[in-house]
């Protein structure tokens, strides 16, 4: 038994090392002052600004489109539910390049639905809007799965109580379900935002690479890796910091909201 415990600790230590070592290498490669100086580089600022704008927009789109779906998945059984569930999870396991290529074939101007979009004057490939679509596509599962489980965890008795008070379903959903599921919704949206921020493969395949227009932080890192290692390090450090910040946000928001909920209860 003791051997097993030692092995478990050893395995965990190895895992921690595997995850922490690359990050440490990134931060230790250059003195922090030098990294900070590189951040004023217009190329990096452009990529940062674009990344923030697109990932926030993608998150907003995912929340707007995903919230009803998450609610229906949590509260209803319907024909084809399995298919919808599968569809929602798919972007998480598909290689991002495949997703980008599929998006190009579907929404590119020569694509399946591209002509229809073109008729409305909407062009996606090689545009900032295309970046947002690619990021949203990849981020959907992170929000919908979290939101669904958040709705599912709301005690049925709250819904029943609302019903006895003659609240209709929409009112119950908005006034009871939504506030109670809020921590999960915030956590899901934050995870979706983090995924959008880190999106690379689908973006470069679907939206191309153009500084200021479609070159987000991950694309800038990839290209800088081939020409300017210091810029790549600076960009990577910023991305890691943002990711850590978002994750910390998930935990903090979850804790605060959870605390408020238990106090209210």
């Amino acid at each position: 038994m003791k051997a097993v415990r030692v092995l478990a600790v050893l395995a965990s230590a190895l895992l921690a090392l595997l995850l922490a070592l690359p990050l440490a290498a990134l931060f230790l490669r250059r003195p922090p002052g030098e990294i900070l100086l590189r951040l004023a580089d217009p190329l990096i600022l452009d990529a940062l600004r674009l990344s923030l704008v697109t990932s926030l927009a993608a998150t907003a789109a995912v929340v707007a489109l995903g919230l009803p779906a998450a609610y229906l998945l949590a509260t209803r059984n319907f024909r084809g539910k399995r298919v919808v569930e599968l569809l929602v999870q798919l972007p998480m396991v598909l290689p991002p390049t495949v997703s980008g290529f599929a998006l190009l074939l579907a929404l590119g101007r020569a694509g399946l639905a591209g002509r229809a979009l073109e008729a409305f004057g909407i062009t996606l490939p090689f545009t900032t809007l295309g970046v947002i679509v690619a990021q949203a596509f990849m981020a959907v599962p992170f929000f919908v799965l979290a939101a669904r489980s958040g709705f599912e965890q709301v005690d049925v008795r709250y819904r029943e109580a609302a019903a006895t008070l003659r609240a209709d379903e929409v009112r119950t959903a908005l006034r009871v379900m939504l506030p109670l599921a809020l921590p999960s919704l915030v956590a899901g949206a934050t995870m979706a935002c983090a995924r959008a921020l880190g999106e690379f493969g689908a973006t470069i395949t679907f939206a191309g690479n153009m500084p200021g227009l479609t070159q987000t932080m991950p694309l800038a890192v990839y290209l800088a890796l081939q020409t300017d290692l210091d810029a790549a390090i600076a960009l990577s450090v910023v991305l890691v910091a943002l990711a850590v910040g978002l994750l910390a946000g998930v935990h903090a928001a979850g804790g605060v909201l959870l605390g408020a909920k238990t106090r209210r209860a």
Partner: protein, 258 residues
């Protein structure tokens, strides 16, 4: 279940045995070489059954960066001399690099011609969507060089290059990705190598050579990467430069080594 276990065991045993019998040669080759080097690797393996050739294709600049970071390459085949010189300068190359092939830059449009591009001159017309290689990618550097030369030609006008670059909607990170996007009709025009407009892509693309005064000949150098399987690497390089290797390259529209 038992059969499955047996299968797994067989696979687990079989793989290392095979690997021990065959040495693997790792070749890093520019994306534009995909078809030619696939054929060359096959021919080389046929002539040397004890060798397995593994080729990593990518943008030359990306491969050079990977080699610099210690990726296990034995041979590096670059699409331009700049990145080869970069590795030579860092002492990562064994011996003198040799130019083994040439390629010319062509102006490419989708056959469906969504941008109604009649010729090279239309690439400067406002609203035409042009895609090029990023500046660090060899094809991107050649493209900018060609545009600079064209701008000196009164027939195109001195602001030609600037106007074309203003039309650029994407700076692709390797030439094959660029060609695929053109073949899909997602961009109106672009610059690639003559050898890229072959096979499946050719059915969807039109390509024209640049005018003689802006003709760019890309020179492809090859070299062994220091400290790894030097003799075998040498043998592969000699094969690429042999008449048989040159014939396979010529079949893919590459120019013979100058």
């Amino acid at each position: 279940m038992k059969r499955l276990l047996a299968l797994v065991a067989t696979l687990a045993l079989a793989t290392p045995v095979q690997a021990a019998q065959r040495t693997t040669l790792h070749v890093f080759a520019a994306a534009s070489l995909v078809d030619a080097f696939d054929a060359i690797a096959k021919a080389f393996e046929k002539a040397n059954p004890e060798v397995r050739v593994r080729i990593e294709y990518g943008g030359t600049q990306q491969l050079a960066a990977q080699i610099e970071q210690g990726a296990g390459a034995d041979v590096f085949a670059s699409a331009d001399e700049r990145w080869m010189a970069y590795l030579v300068g860092r002492g990562l190359v064994a011996g003198e690099p040799a130019v083994f092939a040439g390629n010319t830059l062509v102006f490419v449009t989708p056959r469906s011609n969504p941008g109604r591009v009649g010729g090279l001159r239309d690439a400067a017309r406002s609203g035409v969507k042009v895609i090029v290689g990023a500046e660090s990618v060899p094809v991107g550097a050649y493209t900018r060089l060609a545009l600079a030369k064209l701008s000196q030609d009164p027939a195109f006008g001195e602001d030609f290059g600037r106007r074309v670059l203003r039309n650029v909607v994407s700076q692709e990170e390797n030439v094959r990705a660029l060609v695929s996007k053109l073949a899909l009709g997602e961009a109106d025009a672009g610059f690639a190598y003559r050898s890229d407009v072959m096979h499946g892509a050719a059915r969807h693309l039109n390509a024209v050579e640049l005018p003689a005064n802006a003709r760019i000949v890309a020179r492809y150098p090859i070299a062994a990467v220091s400290g790894r399987q030097a003799a075998l690497a040498r043998r592969f390089i000699d094969f690429v430069r042999s008449p048989a290797g040159q014939e396979l390259l010529a079949r893919e529209n590459f120019l013979r080594a100058p």
